[in-house]
Amino acid sequence: MDAHLLLLSLIVFLPALGAIVLAFLPSDRHDVLRYFTLAITVAVLLASFFGLLDPFNSFSQTKFDTTASEMQGVFNLPWIPSFDIYYSMGIDGISFPLIVLTALVSALAMVASWNITKYVKAYCILFLLLETGMLGVFLALDFFLFYVFWEVMLLPMYFLIGVWGGPRKEYAAIKFFLYTLVGSVLMLIAILMLYFSSDLTDPALKDHLARCNLSAGVKARVNTAMAEEGLGKDVAPIHTFNILALQQIGQHTDQFSGKIFGLTIQWWAFLLLFIGFIIKVPSVPLHTWLPDAHVEAPTPISMILAGVLLKMGGYGIIRICYPICPQGGYDLAYFVCLVGVVSMVYGAFAAMAQKDFKRLVAYSSVSHMGYVVLGLGVWSATAGTNYNPDYWNMGVQGAMFQMIAHGISSSGMFFMVGVIYDRVHHRNLDEFGGLFGKMPAYSALSIGIFFAGLGLPGLCGFIGEVFVVLSVWTYSKTLAVISAAVVILTAGYILWAIQRVYLGAEYKGPHEDHLTPITPRELAVAVPLFVLAIALGVAPHHTVFRYMDKTIERQVDELTQWTEGEDKRREEARKWAEAENATTAITPQIQEQLAERRSVDATNTERRPINAVAAGIDRQERTTP
């Protein structure tokens, strides 16, 4: 059996298995349940660490190869073959860091869950199911599977917020559920549109089939179909849910160029998927579920929400939106960047206005995740500008780094808020102060982590922000200036918060006597996050970039090629339109070609490889004086 199949399935389904075992453990032995859950989360962390990172070279089969840019360890097992649905997973430089982050944040969040005392068993079961959903989203390579994991994570989250949350938990839980479900429904429509438009037997795809990672059965079917098509027979299209195959189809064929209400399927699919993903990110104006969910959720769930769940939106954009629907990205480039910048500015101002400590941190997430959208948006930021693929690369790298860094810093910030909330049972910023004197270790760690969120050089927040801001400069100087200015706003609200909470002469709020020093268990959560925040900031290459470099470079390269082709096509289309207007000057030969082209445009059924179109155009250029 394939080693990757075992390892990746283990990573994803170990928590679910743990949840099933938990169901049979006695519900009154709280510590047993907690330790068991912790053991499972740690086991997942170890599995992803030793199995994939493999520091001791003992699992050479599954070791993640940092020099390879391709998807690694891909497997395809038939699940619903009659609907072309496969159990397909794989790992590359984009998913790998997120997997490790997820495993790490989950384990730390479980350590932080010790003070959950209500219905511990149910909590642990839901927690583990949530982890399975999150890991599955990052590993799935089948669109259907991806969607299933995406939804699976919703159910436990609803209960985790709804049962264990604060006073307005029900409102927050249903709001979270509702927003995500709207996004999912849009995503489902897009998935179905892409699925039924796709056709693996397209001759234009022939050279790229190797990159699609199809299962042996599908490959055989495609080959026979292609052979039959070569003989002039009519063959039924072979649809696919394979994300890699859809990427190739989106970039190398015109299968997604069919028109719906005057716009291409790619454009619609991009928009629907993008809306679905930015609900998760979340970006303004679809962010309003986040402050409520964060404020009401218990501390460990907030950590997961900020640390991992928000990253799914970014991951979806980088893995699905752009590679599958590059044309949508091309057309909507400015829109995407604008969404990112508006989120950054709005989030920062909103954070500054908050009275509630946790709400402040929640809005800081909106602002920080804006960098991710902006960085990814720069990727497509080419329409009508002199683009430079190096800047794209930088933008995407920055966005990816920002995701990891934000995963560390924001879960740290939420935990730090949780620690103080556990003691004094309020989060009112105006009633804090003087904590440094009472809880020096805690305050030092907190300030360190908040500085990481602020983006202080030498800490993890800095790298992503600076990469993104620099990359935007060549695209739009206005957006670059605004996004750079947000750094000041960020510094403003974080420093102001630190001043109000930790500094000052004395503590002004209730329960002053409860301000006990930080406990070892809390240290066990805070210290790793603090250390990582420094490590990522000091050695970004060795900790993060090393793993994602190659993959991102390759994706950017491919999309660069696509963009160059698209620019050429559009230029030609413009020329053709001009030529058509000036009919008098056209020779019979060209008229003939024009007629042919018109018929192709009109029916839009004939599939031609893009190269062939380009070649035809070249010929045309030579003949036109």
Partner: protein, 579 residues
């Protein structure tokens, strides 16, 4: 042809037909036995439950879906018309029959466990249940408009009586009365429509009818005849809409559901709905597509002869037209007929799309304000009827140009029906068991139930999430298949099927709307605290009832992970409908 020949032909035909009619005959036998045995003293001591159970199990055995549905290529039942073309048996019939009988088995067990009909009444109730099931089987295989009407009545009349099962229960009697008046009214309208169609086209046999219609359209139909036909179509649609509880013919549904017992609700919402949908497919395909029936029988050479005779006799008996029955229909004629019917398909498709959209939307919005769980589930049933009608426009859109894809759309409906069976059965089983335990059907009384009865609350939550359509539960599979058929229809047909996209978007948004009321029940059961003044009640988690709930909830989860087989079966079921 003289009378003796016809009698001979009929004898042969009946003998052949009985073979294919075995499952229904089994039900008849069970009903008769159940009633007869009570004449004897010893017989009165036997619980009618055993007859009902045995009857439905044997009927399921004779239906043998495992034989007829497990392989797409070697389907062992091909389209066969029985009883001189009144009924048709094909894989679709087998599939719907299987759903009905599986449901009958589970339902009879459920009645036994909930103890709703007491010993004295049980024979009556089970007779009604099996009788209605028999009618539903006929609905699923109707091939003649008269049969459509008879089958609908055969299924409805026992349902009216079932709705008033509780004697001396005001609400129940009111429900039964409302139900029967409404049913009688719509049945009358439908019969009027049927007579108009039969009058215009000189036949009520569905395939013949479609061919006649096509020829008429080809020959240039006068506008007034077209108008009358459209009206007749609408009238037949009224009758079907009543059975489907489609808006605006749904008014009986919430009242009947509130008045009748939860057991009867389960029966009405699952079996009755499945049969109505099957009938909808039959009628829509019957009106909208012209098929070469000889080509379809060709797969079973032994039967051709008798078939041919039947057809001749049939047409001769009913048709005064001297034109000889065309045994040599060319492919070309077939194609032109299909083309000629495209306005009919368009009309049917858009009509059903319209019904589906308003039914779904209205059901979901109306469910929002309900406080009684049965009433809420009634509106949920209406909404789901809307979802289940959605593939039919896709079928109609694709039937002309892409028959194979149209069959996939029918398969989507089959999948939805199958998963819906388990979802609604669980929901109503839990409602019934809880009613027995706490004497209440108000949602508010379910508050904090999870603290007391984890199994029940978890199963209810699973079912409701499945009804919303969340993976990893089977409800999602149904919704996914339905939505997929809509996109497929749009992709296959193109711009002219834009309305399918509209249906898709409405369906998607409705999923979001439905979240509110399903989630409210879940919230009440799991998150809300238990009321202080709740009267004590007993419901053991470890009991036959608990086990039953587990048993019927399990498919909701299992079918999600293993729906490949279900999909295969559904594809086989739809196999011979259009090609």
């Amino acid at each position: 042809m003289n009378i003796h020949d016809i009698v001979d032909v009929l004898l042969i035909d009946t003998k052949d037909s009985l073979q294919a009619f075995l499952p229904e005959l089994t039900l008849c036998a069970a009903i008769v036995l159940m009633l007869l045995v009570r004449v004897f003293n010893w017989g009165r001591r036997i619980d009618a439950f055993y007859f009902a159970l045995a009857g439905s199990v044997v009927a399921l055995y004779f239906t043998a879906p495992w034989m007829h549905l497990h392989d797409v290529t070697a389907a062992s039942v091909t389209r066969t018309e029985i009883f001189t073309g009144m009924l048709v048996v094909d894989t679709f019939t087998v599939f719907v029959r299987s759903i009905l009988f599986v449901f009958a088995v589970l339902f009879v067990l459920f009645m036994k466990l909930s103890g709703m009909p007491d010993r004295e009444d049980s024979a009556d109730v089970y007779t009604l249940v099996l009788g209605a099931t028999l009618g539903m089987c006929l609905m699923a295989s109707a091939n003649h408009l008269l049969m459509v009407f008879l089958a609908v009545e055969m299924a409805s009349v026992p349902s009216y009586a079932l709705a008033g099962m509780l004697k001396g229960h005001r609400l129940g009697s009111e429900a039964a009365l409302k139900y029967s008046i409404y049913g009688a009214g719509t049945a009358g309208v439908m019969l009027y429509g049927i007579s108009l169609v039969a009058g215009l086209l000189n036949t009520a046999h569905l395939p013949t009818l479609a061919a006649r219609l096509a020829d008429k359209i080809n020959a240039g139909m006068p506008a007034e005849e077209m108008l009358v036909l459209a009206f007749a179509g609408l009238m037949i649609a009224v009758g079907l809409a009543f059975k489907l509880s489609a808006v605006p013919f749904h008014f009986w549904c919430p009242d009947v559901f509130e008045g009748a017992t939860a057991e009867v609700n389960a029966f009405l919402s699952v079996a009755s709905k499945a049969a109505a949908l099957a009938l909808l497919i039959r009628v829509a395909i019957g009106f909208g597509t012209a098929q070469d029936s000889t080509a379809m029988v060709a797969a079973a050479p032994a039967q051709i002869e008798s078939e041919r005779i039947v057809e001749v006799a049939y047409v001769a008996a009913e048709d005064a037209d001297p034109e000889p029955p065309d045994t040599m229909r060319s492919d070309e004629q077939e194609v032109t007929r299909m083309q000629a019917l495209s306005p009919a398909r368009d009309f049917i498709g858009k009509l059903i799309a319209f019904f589906a959209v308003i039914t779904c939307t209205f059901g979901n919005f109306a469910a929002y304000g309900q406080t009684n769980i049965k009433r809420l589930m009634a509106y949920s049933t209406i909404a789901h009827a809307g979802y289940m009608m959605m593939p039919v426009p896709a079928v109609m859109a694709m039937a002309g140009s892409h028959p194979a894809l149209a069959e996939e759309a029918v398969a989507a409906l089959c999948i939805y029906m199958s998963v819906y069976l388990f979802m609604n059965l669980v929901a109503f089983a839990i409602i019934a068991f809880l009613r027995n335990a706490m004497q209440s059907e108000e949602i508010a009384d379910y508050a904090g139930l999870i603290r007391r009865h984890r199994v029940i609350a978890v199963c209810m939550a699973v079912t409701l999430f499945s009804l919303i359509g969340m993976p990893p539960l089977a409800g999602f599979v149904g919704k996914f298949a339905v939505f997929a058929s809509l996109v497929n229809g749009y992709k296959a047909v193109g711009e002219s099927a834009n309305y399918l996209l509209a249906v898709l978007v409405v369906g998607g948004l409705n999923t979001v709307v439905s979240l509110f009321y399903y989630l409210r029940i879940i919230k009440v059961m799991t998150i809300d605290p238990e009321p202080q003044d709740r009267p004590p009640f007993k419901f053991a988690d470890v009991s036959l009832q608990g086990a039953y709930v587990w048993l019927v909830t399990a498919p909701t989860v299992i079918l999600f992970f293993f729906w490949n087989d279900l999909n295969q079966w559904a594809l086989t079921a739809a196999r011979h409908l259009l090609s």
